[in-house]
């Protein structure tokens, strides 16, 4: 029997006792589990960023993995703890929109309100449900407890909704930057296949903060390319990205998450 995988995604940082304590709880209750960090450096309370990172990483894990995500500004209030079941994975975390992208993609997903306190730590703090509630629920799931054990199905989980891409004047589509990666590449709200199938004869223009980008490149380093000129690339998360060769497009163009974009396809 292979060990069950529990992934962790939080805004707890690496400096504190938070992540260690969560891992200790999981390993105490489910000793043979394999814990994998997705990230712990989501900007504090940034549910939108967490939802993006989770949606870009979760599907690469083995079927049966349990994804534990805790970005939880409402901890201790009446926000619900939830459990999301998809055909391949289980997700555990607060009901604040963290799992929006999963619910958007996987129509078969079911959401449960975690109400059964039997698996929580005996004393539930009001400020650290990652340790006291979510970690032990994930451990119980890893031990094979069935999702229905934890609470009833609900139909109204909080959803952030996807970043809107909206038609604008003159055939343009208006979108935005949804993520800036570690290298400064700016992930747009436009899916890669929007340009991927573009016939060669047609051109495009992506306008961002007064800059017009008209080049789509297949990789970061390309012979004869002006190093200072931004370009688009079909990024690894499935979206078009604004990039500069070996440099941070975000810093050079002074753009970040939420920056509006305008895409026009011509010809």
């Amino acid at each position: 029997v292979r060990s069950r995988i529990v992934t962790l995604l939080t805004d707890f940082g690496f400096d504190d006792y938070f992540v260690g304590a969560m891992k200790g709880v999981i390993l105490t209750r489910s000793p043979s589990v394999t814990i994998v960090d997705i990230t712990h450096t989501i900007p504090p309370h940034d549910i939108f960023a967490a939802a993006f990172i989770l949606s870009a990483a979760y599907s690469y894990f083995p079927a049966g993995s349990i994804h534990l995500a805790v970005v939880d500004p409402g901890v201790g209030s009446d926000r619900r703890p939830i459990l999301v079941e998809t055909p391949e994975y289980l997700f555990v975390g607060p009901d604040n929109g963290l799992f929006s992208n999963i619910l958007e993609r996987v129509s078969a997903a079911r959401v449960r309100h975690v109400t059964n306190s039997e698996y929580f730590l005996p004393v539930l703090s009001s400020s650290f449900h990652g340790r006291d509630l979510f970690a032990p629920v994930a451990a119980a799931l890893a031990n094979g407890k069935s999702p229905e054990t934890f609470g009833p199905i609900i139909s109204d989980p909080v959803r952030l909704g996807p970043a809107p891409n909206e038609p604008a004047t003159e055939g343009a589509i208006v979108g935005s930057i949804i993520h800036v990666d570690h290298f400064g590449n700016c992930v747009t709200s436009f899916e890669s296949d929007r340009l991927g199938t573009l016939p060669a004869a047609r051109g495009f223009c992506l306008s961002v903060k007064g800059v017009d980008i008209r080049k789509l490149r297949s990789h970061y380093v390309e012979a004869g390319v002006n190093a200072g000129e931004p370009f688009l690339i079909a990024g690894s998360a499935g979206y078009l990205e604004i990039s500069l060769p070996c440099s941070s497009a975000a810093r050079k163009l002074n753009i970040g998450v939420g920056e509006p974009l305008r895409l026009t396809i011509s010809g």
Copy 2:
């Protein structure tokens, strides 16, 4: 047989070869061990911070876990390597106060001076005992070597002593901030149960840098609360914390570790 857990807590950072080399040594000598990072970003040489993080995390791990802590400004000098045994855990690291909080809490703890070099790496560097001495000792413990193998019991380990809470004039108690967490919550030296059992009719005032805090809240987000007003909360490490809703109390109040506090209980 479940695999033995070795936790790591250091000030080595994540950028260097230090943590990788330590893990390699442990896995070479004890291949079936599960290694868990508590943190590696203790501020360089900050024994006090390390002692706090360790004491807030260690007890959540399974009984039998080995806690390896290396914040070691005196490496290579005559500071002693030690092994601390409690009924549930083993701790390995330098004798500089790192384990003070453990010794304070667990009266049954025994401390040994690690003198048996049989388990060290064959060549002992003078600057990296984490890799050359502490990691192999932890691996040997994980392999089942008995603590008495490593050296004699000592009675004089270095102790930092707890942060002092002292009576002051007019019934006040004077304490200090002992930790600032990743979110900017300021952990005080006052244990939570000092106010937890306070009858509703009585009030309190915590004074910090000219600001008087009179609210105790049960969670970070609360309806009708002035977002700019600091409050106390019973924190997840067992101490009262100074917090602001979705914001850094440390930054907003410009306070940090060591900041003096004055707590008065009235009524």
Copy 3:
């Protein structure tokens, strides 16, 4: 059967989905593998830094470990993916000099161009070969696939060459700083045994940015030492390091990687 170890060294940072996705791919294809992070915070695209960290850490892992290193500014271009075999380890990553120090040290090393796409992910992105190519190749190696499965031996891998130490006037040797560690210790290009065997009667002088260092110390903290005076120490990576007691030599002397050094041995 012990689980196979796969180490990871990248410049992907901890904030993004990159590392999580790579780990997910490895665990999907080789469920019993143990993944160990060496580091993910190599400065973006800094092949030289990555080569140093890898060479300082790899040899502490158990024989049979697979070292996966992805600092890959040329991803998607025609730079070759390679596999390096030494008697003890396997290395996987791009052919850009990352493995220079390994090839320098281990004369028996063989290098293969990874051409067999059978083990890649079905869709190969142009920007994330860490996930789509290198991770699945490492997983296949962990599953016992033989190196010759992946492609032919090549004789011309990219080599950075070691940092040159060159004779200069008056018997001096000129070198440079090759790494600054987490504590600000500056690792020089001079191997420790260059001074380690120096008879007591002979002196030395290391000149760096107008400062002359004439003390070799055996550890960081030493009684009666002027705290502000820099000294040399035989560092844990095998090179002489420029250090200050409990302080950052790099910051205090305002020196970094590439800074020229001049070493003179007198007497």
